[in-house]
Symmetry: C2
Subunit: 260 residues, 2 copies
């Protein structure tokens, strides 16, 4: 099995209301084929959708996009807030991004990246006749490991999981818990050609047509773990402090009873 | 920019003391070139290194490999323990794996996957004359997101980070915090051709020679975040309970002083 990933050169700087599907198709050196997957950096989707606010409002923008503060780290010269955003995605700054934004502005994430991916896939399928899949990617840090990887925040026409539950390994034993998140792996694979500074916002993956399907497949929202199944829904320090207060209050409430 | 990833077919079932470098080179359809990167599933490294124990000892094996229990989840029919293993990697079951292991046995992770990667890279460079990089990969779940991705637990002759700190984005603004973990992205990209059930334990990445370097580059151990910089070093529930006990004890200790 073999596949290739190529960055698409020549996509112009994207502005509000641009037809991103048409601009991507126009920039292609080779025609798209059934089973190709396009990985599109969320920044250009945000720009096309006009998800830009003035940089003065950056802190307000982060607050607006934040559903829940998960953890905070204060260092000598900065504060990192790890928050859950509207999309259920947990990361720094709620996806509000000053880099690669026009001067004096910051970019917000697309309102509904799965819908953005679906619109792009629909547009590109219609323009080219090729049954392609689309992922919208963003860059995210992670607990326990340094550095960032690109992940899928939007998906259309692509299986986001290679669901092997119920399957068997090479020795015939059941693969009970294995469900590779192929959408995140593809987003990371595409980052390797898109880079952060290269101005190449779209990559095309050729040779993994087995992952491409109908446009009504579950989107990237299905990758987000529900918080009731999440063992790390709150930072360790924050959880400890909440517990400390609860324990302290409980002992104080009990105290007088004991001394009676 | 463009690269390709191909699964290497025809690598035989690996046994203890096999010369893995030689077996990989023998299975190649095309000769290796400078700048190629081999992504090797840790399972075959473990097998070649004899890191196999009897399945009866699975729980003991997990305990032996565990440095610290990070979080525990009890469901109706199972207990999931998220633990930090000897390598500093946090995941379920400390990397002890029953799938793809010979009947009646479980596999442990290599003792030192960076050393394993270095030995493989040295062997393959020597056999082929090609300046290749080697990653040793494993499959890991993650907080907040469903499913697993493959990550790099060993690396030799490959930059594990594409360190852009100090660089600039396409608009000239500093990319202050961006440090993509290319080793993890490559491991995930390779999973897409290796799969879990296909018996293809090695993939070859061609076209990313810019990431290949000397054998003394930092290994995958450098990806592990030191716990003093980690906001999620303990499960939320466990941290809350520790805090609760500390708060309760503190209030009780204070109690008598107040009533004096």
């Amino acid at each position: 099995m073999r596949y290739s990933i190529e960055g698409i050169e020549g996509i112009p700087e994207i502005e509000h209301a641009d037809d991103l599907a048409a601009l991507i198709v126009r920039a292609l050196a080779d025609p798209l084929a059934d089973g190709d997957i396009l990985v599109v950096t969320s920044k250009v989707v945000s720009k096309a959708e006009g998800r830009v606010v003035l940089a003065d409002d950056r802190e307000q923008a982060i607050t607006d996009e934040t559903v829940r503060v998960v953890a905070t780290r204060q260092t000598a010269d900065s504060v990192t807030r790890i928050v859950e955003n509207r999309l259920g995605i947990i990361g720094a700054a709620a996806g509000v991004d000053a880099s690669n934004a026009p001067d004096g502005t910051v970019l917000l994430l697309p309102v509904d990246p799965d819908a953005s991916a679906r619109a792009l896939a629909t547009g590109i399928r219609s323009l080219t006749g090729a049954r392609v899949g689309v992922l919208v990617s963003d860059t995210l840090g992670r607990p326990w490991r340094e550095g960032q990887t690109d992940i899928a925040i939007g998906a259309a026409g692509v299986h986001v999981f290679d669901d092997l539950r119920g399957g068997a390994d090479a020795t015939g034993k059941p693969l009970a818990v294995t469900m590779p998140c192929v959408a995140d792996e593809l987003a990371g694979a595409a980052e390797l050609v898109k880079g952060k500074s290269s101005g190449v916002p779209v990559a095309i993956v050729r040779g993994l047509g087995r992952l491409v399907g109908d446009l009504d497949l579950p989107g990237a929202r299905s990758i987000v773990r529900p918080s009731d199944r999440d063992l790390f829904r709150q930072g360790s320090e924050e959880a400890y402090e909440d517990g400390y207060r609860a324990g302290f209050d409980e002992a104080q409430a009990e105290g007088p009873l004991r001394s009676e």
